[in-house]
């Protein structure tokens, strides 16, 4: 899945971004970054994905990251589709359905 799928929108308009941080944020982290989906990766990173209204909003987010003192690994523009996929994945994991499925399927 190409992470740098170019969105047709103007750079200054709404886009979707994936912000990768080193370290896991918990539910409080999600509250800090309202509107973004929080995915905890196995390698110890946190992925924040979702819509960002414009550049000013993006810089505001980055400032919040700065104030956490968590290392910022990357900021990538993604397609809306990728953002939705991340959110679906997050919901599935949160609901525990996938754990149940994995059990059933013997993974």
């Amino acid at each position: 899945m190409s992470e740098t799928d170019t969105a047709p929108a103007e750079p200054n308009e709404a886009g979707h971004y994936a912000i990768r941080l080193q370290g896991h944020l918990d539910a409080r982290g999600a509250a800090r970054f309202e509107g973004l989906t929080l995915t905890l990766e196995d390698n110890g990173d946190t992925l924040l994905t979702g819509p960002v209204v414009d550049q000013a909003a993006l810089h505001g987010l980055l400032r919040k990251v700065r104030d956490l003192a968590m290392p910022l690994i990357s900021v990538t523009r993604i397609s809306p589709g990728q953002a939705v996929a991340a959110e679906v994945q997050h919901r599935v994991e949160a609901s525990g359905v996938d754990q149940g499925l994995k059990k059933e399927m013997g993974c």
Partner: protein, 909 residues
């Protein structure tokens, strides 16, 4: 500005008790002192503030002469005026006599530009005998470009005894690359600030008294990577923990964001009341015993805070009395996030309690902040209304705008005083949009529909007024703001209309409004050329402002009054006006009153006109000594124009042009009509230098033409155009130029005489005389000259004649022969004699013509036109004009015909 809050910003925090000593870093900081800037750039929780405070504390032993000024920055400081105010205040903690008048200037309605303030500050700082350090903590909270620009300016001109330290979470927009390359930068970054394993051990075991095994220390050090905040939180979690190894193992194996994880741990380890306290006070910027009690509902707030400080629980004292503290930023952020997650419904209540406490203690800014955070908009609106007058006086419009923008619109609509106040703040910030709507909304409460005097039925539509006194002044205030709007739009008649309304509506003793309205009237009349009415209005305005106690603005109006008198040819009155104002300013002496520097510039101009060049120079020097910041914003511009004219009088035309260029760059757009723009001054210098085509270009660019309708605003420019035409006639001899010039001059004279602008009339008459002279019509020249002399003599004009140079000298010689104004003419001729640098006419050439010039001279004796000559000689027209100008100068003539005649006399052809 509440003084307890201000004091906390300037407080030099002491290092925490038993802090880890970090000699390697201290040494680097010491070594960096001889450079300009120490930059400590690292994320939150890396120990920046602690390190600097430990360093400062160490000086007392090492080098007691070095002093530190500290400024802890807040988000609200992100406004250039506010930042500079705090900067000056911080510096004054170590040198109280520095920069007198700077704070007053910053608080005034038209503050000087940051460069002017900083220049004055730097000049004073250079005189300090001992080295000192200015520390700016949390610089990342400021991101306004003007502030970065101000700091860049400061760094470029840093006095040798000054050192700057910036602590920040991100690299600032300053010329770091340049500073690094020049060895002017000392840097400490996150990798430097991390605890080494040895330091980590020292912290955990000695400072926190944990007595951990080496393995455990290593595990913690690895997991936190030496991040000090992490180690501090870990230490707090470990204190009294039942299962230390278990904790450390769990922690080391966890990926979670350290701060969240450990603050959880720390909170769990606290007794319930402490936990309660920590979470609930997380909403506060600053902690204070009684304030915390009000917010938490728990007694013993002061004791609680002291205990937290002793326990190293991330609490930082903000003063020596331990009255105020704050949480370490990172800790507060995490606590707050925790509070939001755990008890979101509590947050608004907590803010409300904080707001109530601040309100009871008259700290309105903080009260408003909390009311807005609690979304208690009604209360916030009431508080803003109460705070408005003081905020306006102390120039904190940006803050007020922020507050009001956070309020819902329908709240503003039922609060006429607040709405009008908002309009005023918008206007003061130069934002015209929305002003009219606010004024109309407010007016509905003043002029209810005919017959209906009671409130409408629905209570939600009831009017709310907090500041009743202000409500009574509303009609006058609204008219005043309408006048201001009209002025900003350039609508003179509307300005006059509304300003008059203010004077009708407002009570006799509302001096502030009356003064303001009269000032606006003055400006409107002035722009339209009704000088006498303008003078009356300004004088009345100044009297009112003085009664209102607003001496600075009263003095400022003097510039307008004197300028008007000068235009009216009443030089003596102009001088008296300046001198009286200077006396008034001196009586109010300390600090130096705003406008003093301007008075000296005015006196210099008068001295120059009367040919006392020595005095003129002195006055300009004195103006400079006062400092640009003691003048109004236009002062740098006016000073340079005055100096340029002085240089011109001294014969240094190139110097004059350089100054005029500088003046142009310093021009500040304000409401005073710019009747003598720099570009026109430059054109006049060009004419004197013979650069007639450049002058023509100027006229074209300005859209000036002889058939223009005349107005006072462009009188000076039209006069300059007439000069250009006369110069053109002089070099090219085309009749059309002369006709146009004379036609224009005749019309200008009519307008100036009708407007009673004697000063302008004299100049016009001089030009008319010179025009006749150029045509060889001496009797025709004498008539206007005689009239000019008659007008000018009682007022004491000199340079208006002398500036015209040799042609005028010749005319005055004629006038002397005819016995016109003998004493005056003698005085003027003597002045010209001193200014003259040409040999008397019949002594041959002191300076021989160059080869090129002889070639040009030969062609002058033919029928060739200027362009034809230029083509033949293969030079550009400007070059040709330079040659002819030099030829005339060397021959002591002013026209082509005369040059040819003289050349024949001297056998040069």
């Amino acid at each position: 500005m509440a003084s307890p809050i201000l004091a906390t910003k300037l407080y030099i925090p002491p290092p925490p008790p038993q802090a880890v000593v970090r000699p390697r870093l201290i040494e680097r900081l010491n070594a960096g002192l001889h450079r300009k800037l120490t930059l400590i750039a690292a994320p939150a929780g890396c120990g920046k503030t602690t390190l600097i405070s430990a360093w400062v504390a160490g000086w007392a032993q090492r080098d007691p002469l070095v002093r530190a000024a500290w400024l802890s920055l807040d988000e609200g400081d992100n406004d250039p005026t506010r930042f500079l105010t705090y900067l000056v205040t911080a510096v004054q903690t170590i040198a109280p006599d520095i920069g007198p008048g700077l704070l007053a200037g910053l608080q005034s309605p038209q503050p000087p530009s940051p460069d002017v303030i900083l220049t004055a500050l730097l000049n004073d700082l250079t005189t300090l005998p001992d080295p000192f350090v200015l520390i700016l903590d949390d610089y990342h909270l400021l991101d306004a470009p003007p502030i970065d620009a101000a700091l860049t300016f400061l760094l470029e001109h840093l006095p040798p005894q000054m050192h700057l330290v910036l602590a920040t979470r991100e690299d600032p927009s300053l010329p770091l690359v340049r500073l690094r390359a020049r060895g002017q930068l000392c840097e400490l970054r996150a990798s430097d600030l991390r605890f080494t394993p040895a330091e980590a051990a020292g912290f955990l075991n000695d400072t926190m008294g944990l007595a951990l095994a080496a393995d455990d220390v290593a595990a913690l050090e690895t997991r936190t990577e030496g991040w000090i905040a992490g180690l501090q939180l870990a230490a707090l979690s470990l204190q009294g923990h039942p299962d230390r190894p278990g904790f450390i193992r769990a922690f080391a194996g966890d990926h979670r964001y350290i701060a969240d994880y450990l603050v959880d741990e720390v909170l769990q380890r606290q007794p319930a009341p402490v936990r309660h306290f920590l979470l609930q006070t997380a909403i506060l910027d600053r902690l204070h015993g009684p304030l915390c009690e009000a917010v938490t509902g728990q007694p013993g707030g002061q004791a609680r805070l002291a205990a937290l400080e002793r326990g190293n629980v991330f609490v930082v004292p903000l003063d020596d009395q331990r009255a105020w503290y704050r949480y370490h930023h990172l800790f507060a952020d995490v606590l707050y996030a925790h509070l939001l997650a755990e008890q979101p419904e509590q947050v608004a209540t907590l803010h409300q309690r904080a707001g109530a406490w601040y309100e009871q203690n008259d700290l309105l800014s903080e009260a408003i902040r909390h009311a807005l955070a609690a979304e208690d908009f009604e209360r916030a609106a009431d508080l803003v209304e109460r705070a408005l007058p003081a905020m306006r006086r102390s120039r904190q419009e940006a803050m007020v705008l922020g507050w009001i923008k956070a309020l819902p619109d329908d709240l503003l609509r039922v609060r006429p005083v607040l709405g009008v106040g908002y309009a005023g703040v918008l206007l003061a910030s130069g934002q015209l949009e929305g002003v009219e709507a606010r004024l109309r909304d407010a007016e509905r409460w003043l002029d209810p529909p005919a017959g209906i005097r009671e409130r409408p039925a629905a209570p939600a539509a009831a009017m709310v007024v907090v500041d009743v006194a202000e409500f009574r002044r509303l009609p006058g205030s609204i008219a005043m703001f309408r006048a201001g709007q009209a002025l900003a739009r350039g609508d003179g008649p509307a300005t006059v209309h509304y300003a008059r309304r203010v004077l009708d509506l407002v009570s006799e003793d509302d001096h502030l409004l009356r003064g303001g309205a009269a000032g606006l009237l003055g400006l409107a009349y002035w722009a339209s050329g009704d000088l006498e009415a303008a003078h009356r209005a300004f004088a009345a305005g100044m009297a009112s402002l003085q009664k209102a106690g607003n001496i600075a603005d009263a003095v400022g109006g003097v510039i307008a009054l004197a300028d008007i008198r000068m235009t009216q040819g009443r030089l003596g009155e102009a001088r008296r006006t300046y001198e009286q104002a200077l006396q008034l300013a001196r009586a109010h002496g300390d600090p130096v009153l705003r406008g003093t520097a301007d008075m000296y510039v005015g006196l210099s101009e008068l001295a120059r006109e009367q040919n006392d060049l020595e005095a003129a120079t002195q006055h300009l020097r004195r103006s400079k000594e006062q400092g640009e910041h003691t003048g109004f914003p236009q002062n740098p511009y006016r000073w340079r124009v005055a100096m340029a004219r002085l240089r011109q009088a001294q014969g240094d035309l190139d110097g004059a042009l350089i100054l005029l260029d500088e003046a142009e760059r310093r021009y500040v757009s304000d409401f005073y009509p710019n009747v003598r723009p720099v570009a026109a001054w430059k054109a006049r210098v060009w004419i004197t230098q013979g650069r007639v085509s450049d002058a023509f270009d100027w006229a074209r660019e300005q859209g000036l033409a002889v058939e223009d309708a005349l107005s006072y605003r462009r009188e000076f420019e039209h006069l300059t155009l007439a000069r250009v035409l006369l110069a053109h006639y002089q070099s090219d001899g085309t009749d059309r130029a002369m006709q146009e010039a004379q036609g224009l001059l005749a019309r200008l004279r009519q307008a100036a005489e009708a407007g009673e602008r004697a000063g302008s009339v004299i100049e016009i008459l001089v030009l008319q005389a010179l025009a006749h002279q150029l045509q060889g019509d001496l009797p025709g020249a004498l008539a206007p000259l005689q009239r000019a002399l008659a007008l000018a003599e009682p007022a004491g004009y000199v340079r208006i004649f002398v500036d015209e140079g040799a042609p005028m000298a010749a005319l005055l010689q004629e006038a002397a022969h005819h016995g016109i104004a003998p004493r005056y003419v003698r005085q003027l001729r003597a002045a010209l004699g001193q200014a003259a640098d040409r040999p008397p006419a019949n002594q041959g050439l002191l300076e021989p013509l160059s080869g090129r010039e002889r070639e040009v001279l030969r062609r002058l004796g033919t029928d060739l036109t200027g362009p034809e000559m230029a083509r033949e000689l293969m030079v550009s027209l400007p070059t040709l004009r330079t040659h002819t100008s030099n030829i005339y100068s060397k021959l002591g003539v002013t026209s082509r015909r005369a040059a040819v005649r003289r050349a024949q006399e001297l056998d040069l052809l």
